[in-house]
């Protein structure tokens, strides 16, 4: 099995172009360390022969994905799709859809804010299942306990203060979610 991941970030819109994004997924999926698939090597040396080198194009990358081991189970994870600049988003979703059509053992896991759901469903159609992510009570308690266990000033902590923190943060998070959810 192979896993590749990519994290979108508002701070790097130009560096995270569609070719750079898909190229970074592709290089994480190369199956043999120290060896390059023939399809990719041929394209690399072919591009080098052009004076100044030719820039990698999106259709080239899509073709190279399909040259990887087609029987291998592959998971591609893309985080914060909503942080992809809008002019690139549809292009990236199109390319990911083409990869899915040509690679039947590939599955994709994506995250993003709710307003992206429509674009994902339009571009990837009936292939998509969606799940809303909400803070759950037990998750909040587990997370708070883990953070408190790493407190750098444990000498000022006591059970009363710990309970106050647990209760007030928990209530605050729940109220925030109710307000957001009610919009």
């Amino acid at each position: 099995m192979a896993v590749a991941c990519f994290y979108y970030d508002f701070a790097s819109p130009e560096a995270q172009s569609p070719t750079n994004m898909l190229g970074s997924l592709l290089k994480q999926l190369l199956p043999v360390p120290g060896a390059i698939p023939v399809e990719i090597g041929q394209r690399f040396w072919g591009h080098k022969k052009v004076i100044g080198g030719r820039k990698l194009q999106l259709p080239d990358i899509v073709k190279m994905f399909t040259s990887l081991s087609p029987l291998r189970r592959t998971f591609i994870c893309v985080d914060a799709l909503d942080e992809c600049v809008p002019k690139h988003l549809l292009e990236v979703l199109d390319a990911l859809g083409q990869i899915l059509r040509r690679s039947p053992n590939t599955r994709m896991f994506m995250t993003g804010r709710p307003h992206i759901l429509g674009a994902v469903e339009r571009k990837l159609g009936g292939r998509t299942a969606s799940v809303p992510i909400k803070p759950r009570d037990d998750d909040i308690v587990t997370y708070l306990r883990a953070r408190l266990s790493k407190d750098t000033t444990p000498e000022v902590m006591n059970s009363g203060l710990e309970n106050d923190i647990m209760n007030s943060v928990h209530e605050e998070v729940s109220e925030t979610y109710v307000e957001v959810g009610a919009r």
Binding site: M1, G23, A35, I36, W45, V120, S130, V131, I133, P135
Partner: protein, 111 residues
């Protein structure tokens, strides 16, 4: 093998599908594919993640059908989209999914 590739004296074919390259050529090829290294961000997420948070997702019907394929013959969803407002933990749940997938592979290999 193509003419373009045999021109490169630092590479040679190791199978029908792969070409072994000198380390320098390999790094140039990888840099040509993309200058980005998302593994750095991934490492940060792994270190900050709290065990147990978000495990509920793995028990949902949507996750199971996506991960295993639809075992009941319905529509096969090859994309799982998890959506939520900022700060609800989407990135960390994604990491949990990756970890879960790798664990299952290790178990399968030991049988």
């Amino acid at each position: 093998m193509s003419r373009a590739f045999t021109d490169n004296i630092n590479s040679f074919n190791v199978s029908n599908n792969f070409i072994l390259t000198a380390a320098d050529d390999e790094s140039k090829t990888l840099a040509w594919l993309s200058p980005l290294e998302p593994q750095v961000r991934h490492q940060d997420i792994c270190e900050q993640r709290v065990d147990g948070v978000g495990d509920w997702l793995l028990e949902t019907k949507e996750f199971r059908n996506w991960y295993n394929g639809n075992e009941h013959g319905g529509c096969d969803h090859t994309v799982l989209f998890c959506y939520g407002d900022p700060g609800v933990g989407k990135s960390y749940i994604r990491y949990k999914m990756i970890k879960e997938g790798q664990t299952k592979v290790i178990i399968a290999d030991n049988r």
